[in-house]
Symmetry: C2
Subunit: 93 residues, 2 copies
């Protein structure tokens, strides 16, 4: 593997696993107060399209990387949606 490919692989690994500590923190604390809902909505939609792109092009690294990111970012978005519903329900009482 040449130098450029190594850089690309390390870059892909870092940006993919970066959502792991955020997912762990969100699961532990259930606090999504300073997270941006539109960010996660745009990001999850974008990563889903990357997954479609990788599948159409049959590019396994794009498929695997974006699948991992989709699961992690999806967990975080799930907590935010859950938080919004809980808040609305409490507000209604």
């Amino acid at each position: 593997m040449d130098f450029t490919s190594i850089i690309g692989n390390v870059a892909a690994l870092l940006t993919t696993i970066s959502f792991l500590p955020q997912a762990i923190k969100t699961i532990k604390t259930k606090d999504t107060g300073s997270l941006s809902f539109p960010m996660y909505l745009l990001f999850v939609t974008g990563v889903t399209l990357w997954l479609v792109y990788g599948t159409l092009n049959n590019q396994m690294p794009i498929i695997v990387g974006n699948l991992v990111t989709l699961v992690l970012a999806g967990i975080i978005l799930g907590f935010m949606v859950k938080g919004k519903f809980t808040k609305r329900f409490r507000g209604g009482l």
Copy 2:
């Protein structure tokens, strides 16, 4: 432009601009309490390496996309570092 390329371009656009609402929220509220510091450290490092990768390969879309993401994620990381220093300083008084 074929269908697959359109999907790829929309995917790139969405994942790139997704950090804009988070950066705006962080600038406005200065609240980074539920953001993960390791996430932004890994992510900013990864995006920097993507920038190096794009430059070495002379791929303008990778360069431009990651430059925008780097600025946005860098602003958020900056607020987190600033918050950590302020907290430590206050703690020392």
